[in-house]
């Protein structure tokens, strides 16, 4: 019924470190306006996720994450940035769109609410977490990342950053899934499908971003967030 982390109790320290690293790299990746750096941090996050899957005893997922997350999704972002060779400069290096404060504030509130909600939900599922939240550092990290990523997703206008946020959210959700449901075959199947979808989505997104930049320039990437855009 409840998922358990029993097998990994002894490795708490590693888990905590992993969780911390995941959270940190996710946050940087989400909020760094320097996009190339953000993408690098995403790759680092994906690598950490691979480790985390390994740590959780799901080698299959670790492999998938390695291939799809590190090997395929990461390059997708660099491709979208037009930053195929490391060191080359790109017009997309920085996100220059700015958001009004009200929007930021609203997103922060929403992200907090979402954090509370997801946290509460997880608490109800993993009954013992209420007593020892620190025993599930990866779960906590998952909740934090999920809420933040969603908030960031809602906040950003830059399409690439939204795509990044989506990927991070995806990973967080998978982590939560694994956290509450363990690494049963069903959960692994779900996560695999999710990873595949995330990759496909990222690839499609990257292609689109390239195409948009090609057709309209950088500005087109932020059009989605501009409130003054016409009704149709």
């Amino acid at each position: 019924m409840t998922a358990s982390f029993d097998a990994t109790h002894s490795l708490d320290a590693i888990e905590v470190l992993l969780a911390l690293f995941l959270t940190a790299s996710a946050l940087v990746s989400l909020f760094d306006r320097h996009l190339v750096r953000a993408c690098y941090f995403f790759v680092a996050f994906a690598a950490a996720m691979t480790a985390a899957w390994w740590q959780l005893g799901a080698p299959w997922l670790a492999a998938v994450e390695l291939v799809l997350g590190v090997g395929l999704t990461g390059p997708c972002f660099f491709y979208a940035l037009g930053h195929v060779v490391p060191g080359a400069s790109s017009p997309l290096e920085r996100d220059k769109f700015s958001e009004p404060w009200s929007r930021v504030a609203m997103r922060v509130v929403l992200a907090l609410a979402w954090f509370v909600m997801v946290g509460a939900a997880i608490r109800y599922v993993v009954a013992d977490m209420a007593y020892a939240p620190s025993e599930h550092p990866l779960l906590v990290a998952g909740v934090v990342i999920a809420a933040t990523a969603l908030g960031a997703f809602a906040l950003h206008r830059h399409l690439l950053r939204r795509l990044l946020a989506f990927n991070l959210l995806g990973s967080a959700v998978f982590m939560l899934l694994a956290g509450v449901a363990g690494t049963s075959a069903t959960a692994q199947a779900l996560i695999s499908v999710g990873l595949l979808v995330a990759w496909l989505g990222s690839m499609l997104g990257a292609l689109l971003i390239r195409q948009l930049v090609h057709l309209e320039g950088v500005e087109a990437l932020g059009r989605d967030g501009k409130p003054e855009e016409g009704a149709t």
């Binding site: 609203m106 997103r107 929403l110 992200a111 609410a113 979402w114 909600m117 939900a121 969603l150 908030g151 997703f153 809602a154 989605d224 967030g225 501009k226 409130p227 855009e229 016409g230 009704a231």
Partner: protein, 590 residues
């Protein structure tokens, strides 16, 4: 046999119309004869029918159920009506000869007017015949309406401004009259659940509101019969209508109103209620008022036909009074009605010949003048009761009244006859003043002469029940004849007295001008109200448009939030999830 005759009598006018139409369509205008021999014959089958004997017909398929009859009342009525129509038709042929010549020369306007008259004349006749033989309400009303509306063409014929005024007055009152009649019919027939006039009379007799029904119907028919207050169209329409049209209007059609009264009122029934009798009294007063008032007003008219019109009103007033006697004193009615029919018939022919006479005096034939004026005066004298059929008809109504001891009424009627005499003499005087030489042709004076003869000899040819009419005994002659000289004297005195007022006279149509003024005054606020409503509507349309514009502006602004929604979809989704979760938690915790 009778049925065939009936069919012929009713269809013949239609055949005439069809033929006239056909020939108008076929023949070139230069050879166009509007008043062919066939046209003249329109009324003849009806006349024949009147002498064919009594008969009855029932036709379920006809309208609400047709019931027609030729009985002791409708036969004489049909006889004098058809005769007058026939004579007037012949007279018309002569009367319109000049116009026809003009039409043949190619005057389009005249062509149109003549064709119109030639078509609607038989139609009017048809209506008149139908209403006489009808015993069911629908047919009667059909005949009445047909006659009323078709006769409009007769009145308006000349198309002058006066003619249009006269026709307008005629039509307006006719519409009012039709409305009153249908209202009364519906009420009475609805209460009695009947479709026949017989049933209607019985219904009115027993109905609680019988007097009111009778009043409605009487007013309605009163328009046609020239009852006082509703008579105003007569002096307006008669002077302008062609002489033959005036003849049938005043002779035959006006009698349709009288026949209407006789048909719907439960006359002579012993069980007449008090209220009906009361109504009879009012009617009696109204009749006498008409008899005297019209005479008083009429003598001051300038136009001979207007004078004659007032004479008709006066005469109809007398007949109104006699009809009213059927309600006031039911026992007198069985004796009275043949006299009344004779009175009506005689008046029809006499008034017809008087009106035809006006056309004679306008186109005097090359006869010795005294002869002409003697002939012109003859029907008038008869009308005043001094000679011929007039005398007999006077006696015909007087004797039953004597028998039942209504001497006061007799006296009043005699004095009314004085008025008649005065009116007739004024009319003749006016004719003399406005005489013209030459031009009257054979048909014109032929029909006129026959009409005079028929008027003087009315009792001899009118198919009344045998023995209902007798010559007045010699000792009564004086009592019948005295009003005539008195009347002439009055007229002469009056003329002398009013000489100082040279050239001034009262307008024809008396109350019409009052009515017109009142209606005009009433229309002013109504018009103003109408204008106000129109203005209000326009204003509200404008303001509604303005409101709509404003609303649309708001709406457009509101809809621009769609793009806000678009940019906040993900935020909204987060909100929705949180909201749903919170709501369900809250509900679950309760």
């Amino acid at each position: 046999m009778m049925t065939m005759l009936l069919a012929l009598a009713l269809l013949w006018p239609l055949v005439v119309i069809g033929w006239t139409l056909w020939s108008a369509y076929r023949a070139p205008a230069a050879y166009q004869s509007y008043f062919s021999a066939l046209w003249l014959s329109a009324a003849w089958p009806a006349l024949l029918l009147a002498y064919g004997g009594e008969a009855q017909w029932t036709m379920d398929a006809w309208m609400l159920g047709g019931e027609w009859a030729l009985n002791s009342l409708s036969r004489p009525w049909l006889a004098f009506t058809a005769l007058l129509w026939g004579l007037a038709a012949i007279h018309a042929r002569g009367y319109f000869a000049t116009e026809q010549a003009k039409a043949q020369e190619g005057d389009q306007d005249t062509q149109r007017r003549l064709l119109r008259l030639a078509l609607l004349w038989p139609l009017t006749l048809l209506g008149n015949v139908l209403l006489i033989i009808a015993q069911d309400i629908a047919s009667f009303y059909l005949g009445f309406a047909l006659m009323t509306f078709a006769a409009y063409a007769l009145v308006v014929h000349s198309g002058t401004a006066e003619a249009r005024l006269g026709a307008k007055a005629y039509l307006m009152l006719a519409v009012v009259g039709e409305g009153l009649i249908i209202g009364g019919f519906l009420w009475a027939a609805g209460e009695a659940d009947t479709l026949t006039l017989q049933g209607l009379r019985e219904g009115i007799l027993v109905a609680e509101q019988g007097a009111w029904m009778a009043a409605l119907l009487c007013l309605g028919f009163g328009v046609k019969a020239g009852a006082i207050g509703l008579h105003v169209w007569l002096p307006l329409a008669h002077p302008v209508a062609p002489a033959p049209a005036s003849a049938v209007l005043s002779g035959a059609m006006i009698k349709a109103g009288l026949l209407g009264w006789i048909s719907v009122l439960p006359l002579g029934d012993e069980q007449i209620s008090a209220s009906l009798a009361q109504f009879g009294n009012i009617m009696l007063m109204a009749g006498l008022a008409a008899a005297f008032g019209a005479a008083l007003y009429g003598v001051f008219q300038r136009h001979p036909k207007a004078v004659l019109a007032y004479s008709s009103i006066s005469q109809m007033g007398m007949m109104t009074a006699l009809v009213a006697m059927g309600l006031v004193a039911p026992e007198v009615w069985p004796l009275l009605w043949p006299g009344l029919v004779l009175f009506a018939a005689h008046h029809a022919l006499a008034k017809g010949s008087l009106f035809m006479g006006t056309s004679i005096s306008e186109h005097l034939p090359r006869w010795p003048l005294p002869l002409v004026w003697g002939l012109l005066a003859l029907p008038g004298i008869s009308l005043a009761g001094a000679i011929g059929a007039g005398m007999i008809s006077k006696w015909g109504v007087k004797s039953p009244l004597y028998e039942m001891h209504h001497e006061s009424l007799i006296k009043l009627l005699s004095w009314a006859a004085v008025g008649t005499a005065a009116l007739v003499s004024v009319a003749l005087w006016r004719q003399w003043q406005q005489r013209h030489k030459g031009g009257s042709n054979r048909e014109q004076w032929g029909a006129w002469l026959v009409a005079i003869a028929a008027a003087l000899l009315t009792p001899f040819w009118l198919p009344l029940p045998a023995g209902s009419i007798e010559m007045p005994p010699l000792k009564e002659w004086l009592g019948i004849m005295w009003p005539f000289p008195v009347g002439v004297l009055f007229a002469a005195v009056g003329w002398l007295l009013t000489r100082p007022l040279k050239g001034k006279s009262l307008p024809a149509g008396d109350l019409w001008w009052l009515y017109a003024g009142m209606v005009g005054a009433a229309l002013v606020p109504i018009r103003r109200l109408g204008h106000y409503c129109a203005k209000l509507k326009a204003a509200s349309v404008v303001s509604a448009q303005k409101t709509e514009e404003i609303l649309m502006g708001h709406l457009t602004r509101l809809l621009s939030t769609e793009s806000w929604l678009r940019h906040h979809v993900s935020g909204l989704m987060m909100l929705l999830a949180v909201l749903l979760a919170a709501l369900m938690m809250w509900e679950g915790q309760r």
